[in-house]
């Protein structure tokens, strides 16, 4: 087996005095597509922040076999101001920065990259549009473009399916399936039902972390994992979540 990109071992983390994650371990390999599920406040976003190096751990070890710049990140929509005066072009371009670079880089090649990645996510026509004028789906595509423009080895997505319509959601997963050939993906979702067909394994996070090496999970297992989440059904989406799966 190849070396993991990220290996967390017995990691605990807290906000101030409030413990959020206790003794979690997780390994992320180059071809992984892990769905991270769990209740609100269970520590899903905290887990991402640790991997991104935004939060210090209280104890445990994290081995990173990739540079900080090799991680692409799509944050929750409430992390930034969606009325901020910035154009799609500039948002996507920000995904190419690395450190405090005071010199002007080759703008032409950067802009060519922006053009290409906007095409990949299907919003070429919008590049001079301020983000305040975008629909929810267009905004998420912009953030996805920003996350993948640096061709990361690991792509981390925090609830990319909030405020988007069903059609875009399906397209998003198709794009992610494509991207997964080139990079590992860690996808946080409140809705395991919809992401289930696309992911390869599941991590249930609720204070602790239970890794489930399959994309099928049953209500009983979620109970065993102490991961109470709603299994919502909507639309003609194929649901494999309820299928029983022997615990081994």
């Amino acid at each position: 087996m190849s070396k993991p990109l990220i290996a967390l071992k017995d990691v605990s983390a807290s906000y101030g005095t409030k413990p959020v994650l206790r003794n979690i371990s997780l390994e992320i390999f180059p071809q992984d597509f892990i769905g991270v599920i769990g209740p609100n406040g269970g520590g899903k976003t905290t887990l991402l922040r640790i991997i991104l190096g935004l939060l210090k751990t209280d104890k445990g070890t994290m081995v990173r076999n990739l540079g900080k710049e090799d991680i692409g990140y799509l944050p929750q929509v409430n992390q930034f101001d969606d009325q901020f005066p910035i154009t799609v072009n500039d948002v996507v371009l920000s995904g190419l920065t690395a450190g405090l670079n005071l010199r002007r880089k080759n703008r032409k090649s950067s802009l060519d990259l922006v053009e290409k990645v906007l095409e990949d996510v299907g919003i070429t026509a919008l590049h001079n549009r301020p983000i305040g004028e975008l629909s929810g789906g267009e905004l998420q595509r912009t953030m996805l473009a920003r996350a993948i423009i640096s061709s990361p080895k690991l792509l981390i997505l925090d609830e990319p399916n909030t405020y988007v319509d069903n059609r875009f959601e399906q397209e998003l997963y198709r794009i992610l399936e494509e991207l997964n050939r080139k990079m590992a993906i860690l996808l946080v979702s409140h809705d395991v039902g919809t992401i289930s067909p696309f992911i390869k394994s599941i991590a249930c996070v609720n204070g602790s972390l239970h890794y489930h090496p399959s994309n099928k999970i049953s209500n009983e297992q979620l109970a065993v994992y102490n991961c109470p989440i709603e299994l919502v059904t909507h639309g003609p989406v194929p649901h494999r979540v309820m299928e029983d799966h022997k615990h081994d």
């Binding site: 992390q79 995904g95 920065t97 405090l100 005071l102």
Partner: protein
């Protein structure tokens, strides 16, 4: 062009220079403030600086120096404590805001005799700008301009999404501190132009006027400088001929430009 003869007066040449320099620094710094929704923080820094003015009167120091020290203290305290989540951001600002004013009032009361320039600190007085003030303004404007030229993208990315900027290895804390220090210094020097009570409008009205026509950070930067300059100069000239206070007239001119912008937009929308 009848007003051109005003350039024969030294006070007018100084005022013109101050209007130009402060349009540049307020245009740039104000865009940062407005984009990051830091207007209230800036209000806190502005009013906190009055404490420094009062203490300076009492000890006979240059008031601008005291104002600068208090503004910097307020700026760095906000930046520091908010991050540590010790106190809620808006409550902290309110405390600094009123504490600064209180200290100022107490020390001015304790100072024997009449404080002649007090009104100019509250309401500004661009026509009494001295060559030494201009030198400070020139230095600040050059620093602010250089920071925005060399760090334009960094400032934009940190302002838009701090967490993401951090994941890209940008030293976010350093950038935040550099900018809050420049915000404080720009406010203190602009107090010469518009006074503690009116200065916030120099940092917000041009930006909002520009924002009527563009939502690109870079274009708002450039247009705020131009709009701020037009407002400052027309306000200055109007105040001379109407014989009314310059600071207030400049603010009034800026608001008139804003309303004209609204009108243009409204007509534009109506025509389509």
């Amino acid at each position: 062009m009848e007003f051109l003869h005003l350039f024969e007066y030294e006070f007018f040449r100084n005022a013109f220079g101050a209007a130009f320099l402060m349009s540049v620094s307020c245009g740039l710094i104000g865009t940062y403030i407005v984009a990051r929704r830091m207007v209230f923080i800036s209000g806190g820094i502005t009013h906190a600086s009055f404490g420094g003015v009062g203490i300076s009167y009492f000890f006979g120091w240059p008031p601008i120096a005291g104002a600068a020290v208090f503004a910097l203290l307020a700026a760095i305290t906000t930046e520091n404590l908010t991050r540590k989540k010790i106190i809620r951001n808006d409550s902290l600002i309110a405390v600094m805001w009123s504490l600064g004013m209180a200290i100022g009032i107490i020390f001015i009361y304790l100072t024997p005799g009449y404080s002649p320039n007090l009104m100019s600190f509250l309401f500004g007085s661009i026509i009494t700008v001295t060559p030494r003030d201009l030198l400070f303004m020139l230095a600040l404007t050059m620093v602010v301009s250089l920071v925005f030229i060399f760090m334009y993208r960094t400032i934009l990315y940190v302002s838009f999404d701090e967490q993401f900027a951090r994941t890209r290895g940008i030293p976010v804390m350093l950038v935040n501190y550099i900018l809050i220090v420049l915000v404080a210094l720009t406010i203190v020097l602009s107090i010469r132009v518009a006074g503690i009570i009116l200065v916030l409008s120099l940092l917000t009205i041009p930006q909002n006027t520009a924002n009527l026509f563009t939502s690109s950070f870079g274009k708002i930067l450039a247009w705020s400088v131009v709009i701020g300059f037009i407002g400052a100069i027309s306000g200055l000239i109007a105040s001379y001929y109407l014989n009314i206070p310059s600071g207030a007239t400049i603010i009034f001119a800026l608001v008139v430009i804003y309303l004209l912008g609204r009108l243009v937009r409204w007509i534009g929308a109506y025509m389509n």
